[in-house]
């Protein structure tokens, strides 16, 4: 990530509501034990037909959209399954930001943890961007500035917000686990108090499993 404070490039419209993570990354691409090879699986059934041939009419397959960096989508983008593969696949494909009126909750956390920018705009603003993208012969160019928290297309300028924590995670790439491990003493003290009050919660997985053996 060269300059994390700005993202600019082609934005492809995907005017569908509730575009779920099963569609973003279908099951056959979830069988790995690493994160490799997920660009191929991105939106697979929309991009390819039953014989694996690219569908020429799908927006991402049009030559002008070869360098797509952003998606403009309907509400509740990324709903459904918790599979983080959806986020990894978007990034491996080259998507740096998704613009939508709302996002699935688990997808949202997954995106923040991977520094995939999610820009939430009002439904009418997103519809305006989709209309602008569909009306133009050329692919729509959008720029997003994280210093001023604004998004610009040729016809629209819109401010957006991001929780301060998420903005910092995006800009600085925090080591979340390292940060939480700095609380290790508090975690262990908490656990000791918690288990003293509710001893039936201590080692609950191990105790329950061993009882069955």
């Amino acid at each position: 990530m060269s300059d994390p404070t700005s993202i600019a490039g082609v934005a492809a419209p995907l005017p569908l509501a509730n575009l779920d993570t099963d569609q973003i990354m279908p099951k056959q691409f979830l069988r790995g034990i690493d994160k490799a090879g997920l660009a191929q699986g991105l939106l697979y059934d929309l991009r390819f037909d039953g014989e694996g041939r690219a569908r020429p009419d799908f927006v991402l397959n049009r030559p002008a959209f070869a360098a797509t960096r952003m998606l403009i989508a309907g509400a509740n983008f990324g709903c459904g399954s918790s599979r983080e593969h959806a986020v990894w696949g978007l990034q491996q494909y080259g998507i740096a930001a998704v613009i939508a009126p709302s996002f699935g909750e688990i997808f949202y956390s997954n995106a923040m943890n991977n520094r995939l920018l999610l820009v939430m705009l009002a439904p009418d603003q997103v519809q305006a961007l989709i209309d602008e993208a569909q009306a133009s012969a050329e692919p729509l160019q959008i720029s997003i500035d994280l210093q001023t928290m604004t998004l610009r297309s040729p016809a629209l300028q819109a401010g957006f917000s991001l929780a301060e924590r998420h903005r910092r995670m995006f800009l600085e790439g925090l080591d979340m686990i390292g940060a939480s491990l700095s609380y290790r003493d508090q975690i262990e003290a908490f656990a000791a108090r918690h288990w003293e009050a509710q001893p039936w919660l201590r080692d609950v997985a191990r105790v329950t499993t061993e009882r069955q053996r």
């Binding site: 005017p15 569908l16 509501a17 509730n18 779920d20 099963d22 569609q23 279908p26 099951k27 979830l30 069988r31 790995g32 034990i33 690493d34 059934d45 039953g50 309907g74 509400a75 509740n76 459904g80 399954s81 918790s82 599979r83 983080e84 709302s102 699935g104 909750e105 688990i106 956390s109 997954n110 943890n113 439904p123 519809q127 989709i130 929780a163 924590r165 686990i177 939480s180 491990l181 609380y183 290790r184 508090q186 975690i187 908490f190 656990a191 918690h194 009050a197 509710q198 039936w200 919660l201 080692d203 609950v204 997985a205 191990r206 105790v207 329950t208 499993t209 061993e210 009882r211 069955q212």
Partner: protein
């Protein structure tokens, strides 16, 4: 006087190790469940950083999603990448002393069926899993929610999560579910009314006389599917029904612990004047058997209803999505749902593969046969459910009627194993998601209750189970 609190706030506060900022806390997690496909990269990340598992005894893993369900005694995962996921899970669990229910373990099954039936889920817990249907555990008064793989790694290393607070929603359901309807019909009705993002950002507490009357297994179904309305969690305050269920299975909670636990669990309810950010009310008496017609769980109507007309929606994304759903499902606006021919029936999943679900199926199937045009599969939720159904004669009854009786797993709910539908096949399914391609590319899913799926298996088409007697 202290400010009245919701059950959700009490659960968060009782698990807060530290407040990080206005929206986020460091939340202690009592139980972390893992599966073979959302955990490998988390373990790899942990190993890359040279980190260990902080509290192994609060973690457990189950091979559930990729496992084949063919009715053979010893299961072999034929697909090499899937076999590697299973063996890799075993390596990771062995390395970190994490208990595992492996492929040929008699207690293996769907993670959300296995953990409560073994008594692992207790009221007042925080339970997380790299699987969105972790909301299921709200049925026992435990805060459960799904997480991604980065968070799986975070929990392994710290037994905590950086948790973004949700808002409070209450859904009150009073009255009585009419004969022929179930918790599945109730939740499909609720989702169809509030929408696929109607509970997005909220933890939902279900209450009311209709909820109190539900069995624990029916409550699992309800809380399981709350995530299909976008909910970040679902809760039902513990009562005698759920506490009996837990104590029967959590046999380590006896003597002084039992008294201590009962005293703690009494507190697990929203205070009398607790304020919810939003409240909905429904009348259980209005519930009828529901089926989905589209490709989102909120696209559901009563079986007596018709496919809605997308043109009735305002222009824009909503209408385009409804039109796309009809293109995919091959249905036309105004067409009745009842009588729609199906080729496949799938009874299974963390939503509806418990013993009560299978009993409901057996009730409908008794004395009848699967239609010749239909392939009907039953995939029990766990080894224990399977054994119980066999002991009760349910398996024999279903086999004699023409059903396949298979080994436990997630199976055709998400079709990650080899239980995949062919393009164009229409399926009556007891699962939770009718997304495009969910059960196989080009396959069409209609969500419904186990009794409704059983009725469809008998007649070969979507059927109002309340009228089955007159039809067969």
């Amino acid at each position: 006087m202290t400010k009245p609190k919701t059950l959700y706030r009490k659960l968060v506060e009782s698990h807060t190790v530290a407040t990080l900022d206005a929206q986020n806390v460091l939340l202690f997690c009592d139980l972390h469940l893992m599966n073979e496909y959302t955990s490998p990269q988390a373990f790899a990340g942990l190993h890359e950083q040279g980190r260990g598992v902080l509290v192994p005894g609060q973690n457990v893993a189950v091979v559930s999603h990729i496992i084949p369900t063919h009715p053979v005694k010893f299961r072999v995962i034929a697909d090499p990448p899937s076999a590697l996921q299973a063996s890799n899970l075993k390596l990771n669990c062995d390395r970190h002393a994490i208990p595992l229910f492996d492929t040929n373990d008699a207690l293996q099954g769907i993670e959300h069926v296995v953990s409560p039936e073994l008594g692992m889920i207790r009221p007042g817990m925080v339970v997380i899993c790299g699987d969105s249907h972790t909301t299921t555990y709200g049925a026992l008064g435990a805060l459960g929610f799904g997480i991604g793989t980065s968070e799986v790694e975070h929990v392994l290393a710290t037994q905590t999560l950086v948790y973004r607070l949700a808002q409070d929603m209450r859904i009150q359901v009073d009255g009585r579910l009419p004969p022929g309807t179930t918790a599945k019909d109730l939740i499909l009705m609720i989702i169809s009314r509030i929408g696929a993002q109607g509970a997005r950002g909220y933890v939902v507490e279900f209450c009311g006389t209709a909820i109190s009357a539900l069995s624990v297994e029916a409550r699992f179904t309800l809380c399981n599917m709350a995530v299909e309305a976008g909910a970040r969690g679902a809760l039902i305050a513990p009562d005698a029904t759920s506490i009996d269920y837990v104590l029967e299975r959590a046999t380590d909670i006896t003597g002084a612990w039992r008294e201590q636990a009962l005293a703690a669990w009494v507190e697990l309810r929203s205070d009398a004047h607790a304020v919810f950010d939003i409240e909905h009310r429904f009348d259980a008496g209005e519930v009828v058997p529901y089926v989905t017609w589209g490709t989102s769980p909120d696209q559901a109507v009563p079986i007596t209803g018709h496919v809605p007309d997308p043109a009735a929606q305002a222009e824009g994304v909503a209408r385009q999505s409804a039109e796309q759903a009809l293109r995919y499902t091959g249905l036309t606006a105004g067409a009745p749902l009842e009588g729609l021919a199906i080729q496949h029936v799938f009874i299974g999943s963390c939503t509806n593969a418990r013993i009560e679900d299978l009993r409901a199926v057996a009730e409908i199937v008794r004395g009848r046969r699967v239609a010749p045009s239909v392939r009907a599969m039953v995939v029990p939720g766990s080894g224990r459910v399977k054994a119980q159904a066999e002991a009760e004669g349910i398996a024999d009854l279903l086999l004699a009627a023409g059903f396949e009786w298979r080994q436990p797993g997630c199976s055709m709910c998400l079709a990650m194993n080899d239980d995949v539908l062919a393009p164009g096949v229409r399926c009556a399914s007891t699962t939770n998601r009718n997304f495009e391609g969910r059960q196989g590319r080009g396959a069409i899913t209609h969500l419904m209750s186990p009794a409704m799926a059983a009725a469809a298996a008998i007649t070969g088409h979507l059927t109002d189970v309340r009228h089955l007697e007159a039809l067969t």
